[in-house]
Symmetry: C2
Subunit: 355 residues, 2 copies
Amino acid sequence: METSVKNLSIEKVKTSRLSEIDFDNLSFGSVFADHMLICEYVDGAWQSPKIVPYQPLSLEPSAKVFHYGQAIFEGMKAYKDSEGGVWLFRPQENQKRLNISAKRLAMPELPEEVFMDGLRTLLQLDEKWIPQAAGSSLYVRPFMFASGTGFHASPADSYTFIIACAPSGAYFSGKVSVLIEEKYSRAANGGVGYAKAGGNYAGQFYPTQLAVDKGYQQVIWTDDVSHEYIEEAGAMNVFVRIGDTLITSPVSDRILDGVTRKSILTLAEDLGIPTEVRKISVHELVEAAKEGSLKELFGAGTAAVISPIASFGYKGKDYELPELEDSYAHKLKKMITDIQYNRAEDKFGWRYSVL
Amino acid sequence: METSVKNLSIEKVKTSRLSEIDFDNLSFGSVFADHMLICEYVDGAWQSPKIVPYQPLSLEPSAKVFHYGQAIFEGMKAYKDSEGGVWLFRPQENQKRLNISAKRLAMPELPEEVFMDGLRTLLQLDEKWIPQAAGSSLYVRPFMFASGTGFHASPADSYTFIIACAPSGAYFSGKVSVLIEEKYSRAANGGVGYAKAGGNYAGQFYPTQLAVDKGYQQVIWTDDVSHEYIEEAGAMNVFVRIGDTLITSPVSDRILDGVTRKSILTLAEDLGIPTEVRKISVHELVEAAKEGSLKELFGAGTAAVISPIASFGYKGKDYELPELEDSYAHKLKKMITDIQYNRAEDKFGWRYSVL
């Protein structure tokens, strides 16, 4: 197999596990494709990347990922069109963001070509793992962690970058009701909220579990000072439609610069939907819900694309969202997925051909 | 060897690595004792703990510790006195705090006896690894991480708890100058700052590196809203002496409830030193420095015990601390370490006999 990454070596599996997978009943991210890309940072330099069979990793107990949380990731999907063509969606955005996260976590930046060419080569090799059924895709998980050792609280001296893939069905299913968080927070001003850092997610699990115990599926995160402004929904960016206007919070050092988020903004503007990027207060949300101008609320992210929210809870009261025939959520999700699966014109040059 | 933990199995090393270690030139946490304790949480239950040779761990690439930051730890030390007696310092505090961290990170709480009895048994077995030289100790690192797999952003279904030990010299050396942080933050209100969560440390490395580039060794963290109140120093709690009064910030959901911190407060009160637990503004610190009433500034934590700060930088200006003959830092550090090394009466019952 040819590749433009210098020194990329490929060790293929002896026997593919493909036949063991039930592609009609895929959950999200729980079975893994035959191969993975691995690249080690040692002695101040990235070593030659390798594609190897998906396999366990061996790490010292003192590897800093276990102690000091130097762990970042990206989430992407590979799509197969009806002709068998394989596509990614704006992968350069993920490549850039990985390095933004790396910088904030004091980890080494990964050369663009290792990410892009390594990714393409890996997907070409595991092309048969990309499901073709509607809503299904190969979830692609690039991630990097501190493999260097020692109990001193300082950055590691070695790191491991991996791309692993999981054929996946849809992320959420069913109606989503969310709780607006009034006590816990996701991110600090001047913190790492804008990075896809592992620690941002671990901190969300407990408050989310408390919300689940109350009958909700997810939390809407608010600012950590006043809890008056909505910031993210679960692990997604959040959009609000009031009247005909689609509103989302500005990105900041607390809010992730989501690829789906910015794609939605571009598509909405292109459709002539009035959009606003500004702070959204809980007060505004509740008032709009009461007077009937709150039309939609949805999360946006790679995994779920767009996840419409059916109701939200705040201070012990639940507010229902209307069920619209022709919602922005539905329309925008269709537009994005049509581009992703090569079913529509790619006006903005977002599709990236893999095979 | 006897132990009160049920089903604790012990597999000893065939050949000890003890003779390879240069005990006269120990750094901090970079060489590891022969054995470690490991206990796995699987299928909703903690399995039998094992003591095994210190060895690499095998983990799936999709283990959630690499992706979602479910990783917590504790830091403790085992001390050897002049008679060869082995001691821990308030280990129950670490045991309790581990479970406080676990709860916040949606991880299972570890049974007290696995921690305490496992720890004691491990230290008895690796007793020869505990250095006796002044300032040296066996650094003990209990930690827990998500070993369960899958790319879904949700708590793992299995976890690994380990205690590993590293014979260590002093943590800091030389004069420490710190920079008061005005942009970056360590913790959010409603976040995980009070937990010993890995992600809290990774987020500090980059701002600390920026401070190091400016000629400082550490950062004094301030609140994430106004950056007007000092909260922690590096990975330690922070104390200020103004006039004769010793002041430290109250613990909160942003500030770690440090064992050294609370021991210092108790000892200072016992010595008749006026203490205050209240917010400390940067303004107060700077004003006190200018008028000469700022006598001391020091960090407090298990690794360094007490780390006196020689100067601090703020808004481009550096403020020197006086060099006192009989500083609180020196006096309190001596008192704590005398208790830890069994050189003084243990008035508060903090010493815990291991052997």
